[in-house]
Symmetry: C2
Subunit: 371 residues, 2 copies
């Protein structure tokens, strides 16, 4: 067990019943999660093949950590659920180290400092950090940001004012080099990043076409978020729809999905188009390997580029982006939508799957504790 942490595995059947056993209980009495003075955690048990299964996770309990000098403890209120998590579960080098078997699953989270021996963080401070899928996290403050719940609800700091918003902002404006008047296409448009990308593009004077799954999501994009058009990839031929909605071609394509949709957009590039590769949610659970874009030679025809982006590279400029995004939120020009799942950390394995079935609209967040 890494770091010699003491934790006890919870039987999956108990978890399914939404219950768990406290380490502190001398008896085998069942205690509701909300009342248990322990730290429930979700650990990686096995590297999945395809969609993560219940057996890929260990649900464990641990004593709530006690901070040493220079440390503090965060009582987590909300966890961020991200398609990228699927990649972190795989072995091998990527843009970030994989989560090791037996480790608490990596996750961005917000919460409140519940105990502190750290001069920079006081009990009651609200914070964002990479706290993991658990109820309480011990931290030395590295990578932790203080957040202000009076400016925006805590989950918004996981979405529009968090990594999601940063990804959309820098991906579109820096990597995509958006210019006023551009035609922008974004896939996963009703998802966390996509919905922010499209709105920023509108604010910056672009024509915006969203690609999403289902009539309801598409209606939301056009009616609520102000997209110029939305393509329902489940009901429409994306390539044909793009010919109508982007008759002069696509200047910026922000890709969250890969697969057939990436191939369809490649056939409609304008000269000098920029494709931002942010993710490929259609490919993350492929058991027979990722399928690349067969139409990639359109890059040559269009003198276009396809560039990968990782938000961490812009860490030094998060403040600048957050200030601009917060301003747009305040002015009502940007709508932040969070899709909040209840059930505590033990609901994490099922909640994660919603990202891959396309069930969520906006930022998918797991509520773990009280604000």
């Amino acid at each position: 067990m890494p770091g010699g942490e003491r934790h006890e595995r919870i039987d999956l059947a108990q978890r399914r019943a939404g219950l768990c056993r406290s380490l502190h209980a001398e008896t085998t009495d069942i205690v509701a999660i909300e009342m248990s003075p322990v730290n429930h955690q979700v650990r990686l048990a096995a590297r999945p093949s395809g969609l993560p299964r219940p057996s890929d996770w260990d649900l464990t309990v641990q004593d709530i950590p006690t901070p040493a000098a220079g440390e503090f403890v965060v009582a987590i209120s909300h966890l961020s659920l991200d398609p990228a998590m699927r990649g972190w579960m795989n072995a091998g080098a990527s843009y970030i180290e994989p989560v090791e078997i037996g480790d608490v699953m990596r996750a961005g989270a917000v919460g409140r400092v519940s105990a502190s021996q750290h001069p920079g963080f006081a009990v009651g401070d609200h914070v964002y950090g990479n706290f993991g899928v658990q109820e309480y996290a011990l931290s030395d403050g590295k990578g932790v940001i203080k957040i202000d719940p009076s400016l925006a609800p805590l989950p918004t700091y996981l979405g529009t004012l968090g990594m999601t918003g940063m990804t959309a902002y820098f991906g579109l404006l820096e990597v995509g080099a958006l210019k006023e008047g551009d035609t922008v296409v974004v896939s996963g448009a009703a998802g966390a990043v996509g919905s922010v990308v499209g709105q920023i593009a509108k604010i910056k004077g672009a024509r915006v076409i969203g690609i999403a799954g289902g009539e309801e999501k598409c209606r939301w994009l056009v009616d609520e978020l102000g997209f110029d058009a939305a393509i329902d990839y489940k009901a429409q031929d994306v390539r044909r729809a793009l010919r109508e909605d982007a008759p002069d071609g696509v200047d910026v394509y922000f890709d969250n999905v890969g697969g057939d949709i990436l191939d369809a957009v490649l056939t409609r590039l304008a000269r000098g188009a920029r494709i931002v590769i942010c993710g490929a949610v259609s490919q993350y659970n492929a058991t027979d390997g990722v399928r690349g874009p067969n139409n990639y030679l359109s890059l040559l025809v269009a003198r276009a580029s396809m560039t990968g982006m990782v938000v961490f590279d812009y860490a030094a400029r998060y403040g600048e982006a957050a200030a601009e995004l917060a301003g747009w939120l305040r002015d009502g020009r940007l709508i932040s939508r969070e899709d909040i799942v209840d059930g505590g950390v033990n609901a994490f394995p099922d909640a994660l799957l919603k990202l891959f079935s396309g069930e969520n609209t906006g930022k998918l967040v797991l509520r773990v504790g009280s604000d």
Copy 2:
């Protein structure tokens, strides 16, 4: 027949015998090509599926054209053979219009002005232009460049000092944004563009690894052209070889081939790598469609870009590049190698196939007439 040109089709069996019938001969006497005072041409007869077959071409003869006012005639000495020609034979939009069925096949060529009614071009001038697969071309001077055979042999104006050299120069330095100290990998390294790319990269202070087919080509790259390493993709595992030859990753990959080699290099990208998509000779004759790079998500991991290039975009700067390339040639820092095929225009269909079987080393050129 486009433009109402008068031409007569030659039987393929005659072409195979290396002979043709003159339109001017009243009898059926056989006359050697070299002696015939007519214009032999190769026209597109059908759009190929897979590798072009003899039946995809019409070999025709025509009277030598007579220039009207503002026109001149070029007696072509050498034709450029390019993998891109395969793409020009397909229907549909690309970076350039397809060659129409019945038209003389498009080709860059060099030759000498043999008749002129154009004030800018005198009989005896040597010129480069898009003259097509024929012995004599009528021109109004559009896109025609005068060349100096005392500075370099005529075929060099199809290679290092022609479109080949321009493609290598702008692709590597502009699209690839080469920096001193970069590790550069080039595929099709013993080919026309690749061999120039690698040499320019060496001149500019990069470490250069060429990927080519066969021991002989690889030896030539290292021993004659000064590449730091060469990988024989027919005998070696490219991915493993790159791990040894580019231990710190690849900063610039200049891709002429696509397919498995592109996928292999994608696994070895350095942070911020630039992939220049110049061509995909491994894919041009695929009958089941182009296969894209399945490892494209490495772009994300490496924050890398993949950008398509078409040399025509740099037309305004050809002079600048040609001057620098000519200087390197003169100083012996750059070696220009042309692989010259004899046989006249009727040998074009077979000669073209050498590009796809990987038989040529350096720039493949078809000799059509005397310098």
